[in-house]
Amino acid sequence: MISQLTKTERETALFLTALLTLSGLTLGLLGRNDLLGYHGALLAVAGMSLTFLLIKDYYKPEPDPDNRAKYYDDPIKVGLVLALVWAVIGMIVGDWVAWLLVFPEATFDAGWASFGRLRPVHTSGVIFGFGGNALIATSFHVMQRTSRARLADNISPWVVVVGFNLFCLMAATGYLMGITASKEYAEPEWYADIFLTIIWVVYLVLYLRTLARREEPHIYVANWYYLSFVIVVAMLHILNNLAIPISLGHAKSYSLFSGVQDAMIQWWYGHNAVAFFLTTGFLGMMYYYLPKRAGRPIFSYRLSIISFWGIVFLYMWAGSHHLHYTALPHWVQTLGMTFSIMLLVPSWASAGNALLTLNGAWGKVRDDATLRFMMVAAVFYGLSTFEGSFMAIRPVNSLSHYTDWTVGHVHSGALGWVAMITFGSIYTLTPWIWRKERMYSNKLIELHFWLALVGTMIYVFAMWNSGIIQGLMWRAYNTDGTLAYSFIDSVAAMKPYYVARAIGGLMFLAGAIVCAYNVWKTAKLPTVTEYTPDKPPLPARGRPSAAAQAAE
């Protein structure tokens, strides 16, 4: 990988890894009496390891300038592998906490093994580790191909991939040690947040610079979706994490907001994380890999545009539906509810656009498990957005809120939509970037598809049942006005569903492991020299081509 960098780039990289080491040492020194010290040490060790790798290959010959005329796929490979590593870690922890709900005593009396610390390792592991890496890797691929241009430079993609994964590592290890900002899906503390902000700005600038190199005057819709993901996540991340650390030597910080304002900012963040991390980014993925795999034109350009603006505009208002029947003023709840209702149509339009794109390719859907992954993802996207809008209606929410129905809804989106579109994209992308004729085994893809689908169905049906039973038990009264059930009665009633959920999750995890194995074996297949599914990057008009630049 380092042999693909020029001398100047290697020097820049060395400067950056030295900077990382120095920041790590500073943080470690400041936080030597606190858990913060461990994260300082983590960054310093990471910085030193990378420096060592760079020095080891520093005197290797410079890359062939002709290579600079090609797409830059190395960071994509690394991002994709890391996505799968995080998928397996995040899903193992997920299934672990699922079993922990069946056997709550299985914590070995250890703090790190408690539900409260393991659960964010699962959520961050799958959302940021798996989802985030998959988004970064595929966006690097899509931005180059749809722009017919190489990534704008060779260093910043590595900053994004390495930096983002260091953030994920700080998040996961921090939770186990007990470091948390106590904000759901925004648990990492101030220093990790600042670190991620820097990485994210590099990502945005890289994306915009690469798009600026495109030849096609129009920007393909997938890029619009990816860009909305990058920009809005930056905005959400910064605002929700505004906090004051108790000192520069402590991991702990306190939010700038308090009370109901804090809750509103948190769920504005939380819901838009679902919207712009777990929805628009993956719609970007869908809009590239689905038509490519199906070999069909997008059903309607117009539909994709109104869906995009509908989703981007309407989602922003919907967060308050997480706070129905709380101290949040009624009018804010009404707005959150109504915008959630209006959001349904653009969401369904996106799902419909995807499914109608498959017209003329349904034979392929039948035979090709990869395309079927993407088709099922679009169906689950439609189902879970309908469910989401439905649950945002206040009277419905009074039944569903605080129950497992919410958990079922989230997983119908996360397993059925996000993970399935990602797996479909990974199976499409892997042979392309590793220059292989095909995936190692189509049978294993087929096996993965059924494990994932059946696992998701078991999970979601179990949680629908348990959630609705919980909700009904909590609101059941006797004729004399007393409660029909105590809370612990409702907990005891959940047990069979929790067992089913953990089994469904285990199947989904098994599928992810099959996928990782398949990708690993594919990377080992003989490379095909003549094969390329892509049109090559175009030499840019009015400025020197990438090849010419590199030769300078």
């Binding site: 129009h218 038509p291 490519k292 059903f299 309607s300 009018w331 109504t338 009264y477 004399d480 105590s486």
Partner: protein
């Protein structure tokens, strides 16, 4: 930019854009989508007209229905209060004996009492009331503060070491940590305490240890646990001669108790449960204990 062409499968024109092989059809937005978009927007506008919705500078639109979640909640609380009013008044005004004789009221006590117990007490005393490590068993005839209904109800009201102004205060001193007793003395008195509750009043310890233990007991323990070790309900000191132990009855557990002391806490419920609810709980606990002793 390439020219728009006709897609042979659908018969639609493409937009003429092309990105690495991806093309788009210029299909108009389906009428159904526009219809549903209009319907959802319309229903939102209707909801905005009916309910509190849009903020202004100093206030917000109140809506035609004039609803607000606060008044809705108050209304539903009032409605539920009417439903429970009859038995609540009866429970509050009648004596424990009268309630016990009224089978309809007793049914409510048993049913509602179980909910109250499971929602408020079970996390410490266990769903069956049998207690656990550090928490007293309620399903026996041994009581720290007394087991008649009036006393149970008072314990519920003020709690134990709860911080309530009238809280019951109970403290087992930290004889080891505070340097009042030596290790030898603690071991001896622990052995003596075990001998009190074992059926034949014997332990593996020798007579010398037991007499030292008895001596320490005489000096340090009788003021709370009584000369015969049967405890004292006025200070919440447990009976040491029975086979129930809150913190464990083996020599190590007793020594831990002697070393670091104990100061168990039970919250006061006067601010969280109504008089009627506390009375129901009292009767429920009384019922549990009697059921067990029969």
């Amino acid at each position: 930019m390439s020219k728009p062409v006709r897609d042979p499968y659908t018969g639609r024109m493409t937009t003429g854009h092309e990105w690495n092989g991806i093309i788009e059809l210029n299909t108009p937005v389906p009428k159904l989508v526009l219809l549903f978009l209009a319907l959802t927007f319309l229903s939102s506008v209707i909801i905005w007209l009916l309910a509190p919705a849009w903020p202004g500078l100093n206030s917000y639109t109140k809506g035609i229905l004039g609803i607000d979640q606060r008044t809705t909640l108050e209304h539903s609380l009032e409605k539920s209060a009417i439903k429970t009013a009859q038995w609540r008044t009866d429970i509050e005004t009648l004596s424990f004996e009268d309630i016990s004789r009224n089978s309809a009221l007793l049914a409510t006590v048993r049913d509602h009492g179980e909910r109250l117990f499971e929602d408020n007490c079970a996390m410490c005393h266990g769903p069956d009331g049998k207690g656990g490590d550090g928490y007293p068993n309620l399903v026996d005839d041994q009581w720290l503060w007394g087991g008649d209904p009036e006393t149970i109800m008072e314990t519920l009201r003020v709690g134990v070491n709860s911080g309530h102004d009238e809280a019951r205060i109970s403290q087992m001193m930290a004889y080891g940590r505070d340097g009042i007793l030596t290790l030898e003395q603690r071991r001896a008195v622990a052995a003596f305490v075990i001998s009190l509750s074992s059926s034949d009043h014997t332990t593996p310890e020798d007579a010398e240890t037991l007499s030292l233990g008895a001596e320490v007991f005489e000096q340090q323990c009788v003021s709370c646990h009584g000369p015969d070790g049967r405890g004292m309900q006025s200070v919440g000191a447990p009976n040491l001669t029975d086979d129930f132990w809150i913190y464990g009855g083996d020599i190590t557990s007793i020594d831990n108790t002697l070393r670091d002391g104990r100061q168990g806490v039970m919250p006061n419920w006067d601010e969280r449960l109504s008089l009627a609810d506390r009375k129901v709980l009292t009767l429920y606990i009384d019922d549990l204990a009697q059921g067990a002793s029969q």
